[in-house]
């Protein structure tokens, strides 16, 4: 009995070794798939850099990414979670579901040429100062390479690319989470442009903002001041109280305000 099991184990091992010898390693396969199309991805990234569209206005950027994914065989659901420029592209079937995040919004007022000195391309124009054109393109390229590998290996599993708009202050991903779009996902992979190469296991700060609107009663400031109530008094009183509050909050708290 034990001999028989041993023989079976041996033959299975031989089979695995043979298969591995014939087939390319998955990680080599996807590297090759990206290198094969590097020129196209470079061109895509430079197009997004040139569009430099702001949060929730990324129409051309999202269309370019979606087109690449559709051509590669992904099913694309566009305009998800109430955001016209958000999308989810999916390929494969069953578990596990691995999702890759893509961002593509730019920042206002940061137009700049590809020169190593300050040179504005377009006065008052926007620019990809957080590198989201690279973010969106690399993630799309990776999703397509993984899809190619899934297709060639015949393995089960689903790869998804989440097109997440308006990262810069628009919180696009929060609406996608709230809508349950990540509920069946097993792992999320993401990256970000930077000035060094490293895996990031840091935490960040949570944040929340609101516009507080005070309503008063208008009156003639000299003739009938007793009839009036100043909305600005409300703002000033609030600011004063919040400034006192700073002494009594946990040290790592940050509170910022602007009268708008």
């Amino acid at each position: 009995m034990s001999k028989c099991i041993f023989r079976m184990a041996l033959s299975v091992t031989c089979l695995l070794v043979t298969t591995a010898g014939l087939a390319q390693q998955p990680t080599d396969f996807v590297q090759q798939a990206i290198d094969d199309h590097a020129a196209r991805y470079n061109d895509m990234a430079l197009q997004l850099w040139d569009f430099a569209e702001l949060g929730y206005q990324e129409e051309r950027s999202t269309a370019l990414l979606q087109m690449q994914l559709k051509e590669a065989g992904f099913e694309v659901a566009a305009g998800v979670a109430g955001m016209p420029t958000a999308f989810v592209a999916s390929y494969g079937n069953g578990q596990p579901v691995i999702a890759i995040l893509a961002e593509f919004d730019a920042l206002p007022g940061l137009s700049q040429a590809t020169t190593p000195f300050r040179q504005v391309r377009e006065e008052g124009g926007s620019g990809h100062a957080c590198g989201h054109h690279l973010f969106g393109t690399a993630s799309t390229a990776a999703a397509i390479a993984v899809k190619d590998w899934l297709a060639s290996s015949g393995g089960t599993g689903t790869v998804r690319l989440y097109g997440t708009p308006a990262e810069e202050g628009g919180s696009g991903k929060v609406y996608m989470v709230r809508a349950g779009l990540f509920d069946d996902v097993d792992v999320v992979l993401s990256w970000h442009p930077g000035d060094q190469n490293y895996a990031d296991s840091q935490t960040t700060l949570s944040n929340k903002s609101a516009k507080f609107r005070f309503q008063g009663v208008s009156a003639h400031a000299a003739r009938a001041p007793e009839r009036g109530r100043s909305a600005l008094d409300g703002v000033e009183a609030m600011n004063h109280m919040v400034n006192l509050l700073r002494e009594h909050v946990p040290q790592e708290t940050r509170i910022h305000y602007v009268i708008t």
Binding site: P26, T27, V30, Q31, Y41, N42, L46, W49, Y56, G82, I98, L107, A113, G127, A129, C130, H133, L134, A141, V146, L150, G157, E167, V174, V177, F182, D186, V187, L189, P193, G194, Q196, N197, A199, D200, S201, T203, T204, L205, S206, K208, S209, A210, K211, F212, Q215, G216, H220, P225, S230, A231, D233, M238, V249, P250, T253, R254, I255, Y257, I259
Partner: protein, 210 residues
Amino acid sequence: MPETAEVYYYVRHPSAERLSEIWERVAQAARGAAMGTGTTVDWEIIHGNHSKLPNLTLARVVHANLERLGGLRYSPEEQAFAEKIRETLGRVDIPLGSEKEIQPIKEGIHMGSTDEGDVSWVVPTVRFRTATWVPGTSSHTWQAVAAGGMSIGLKGMLLAAKVLAMTATDLFSDPARIQEAQAEWQERRGPDFQYVPLLGDRDPPLDYRQ
């Protein structure tokens, strides 16, 4: 005498739970201010993000792939471009040349915020960075726009694409690693965690850049 006035408040704290408590005290100050000045107050939540929940299991898979590929090699033209950019950066701690290296996995706290935070509380999430900008460059600067629009940025991008794809195939090929990542995530979240978006039920602010 102004009939309307508006103030924009922005509060941060490492923990979303603590932040909600602090936020309620700010809201109480608003109510108190209105009461005392005979005005009324209302507020519109503009945005809210959770902090990022790290995942070391996944970070290790990413780190191994970064190590396999190595950092970036500049051409002589890129080196010259990088040296010129460096002259505009002022005092920086990160040396030129570090784009060639892979740094150790970063832990601790990054004093920023991202909407990726919310994703990390509902699914185990990992992120990494590549040197798409000249070492020492901060995000949200013209130096980042410049390097991102030329070959330095593109080299960093292709490295990132490969690391993402290799990490995905590693995980597809090793389901036990996914389970390990999910176990770590469960432990970090805690047994009683329930996801509540900090921005409540508001609709996406589609016109916030108009």
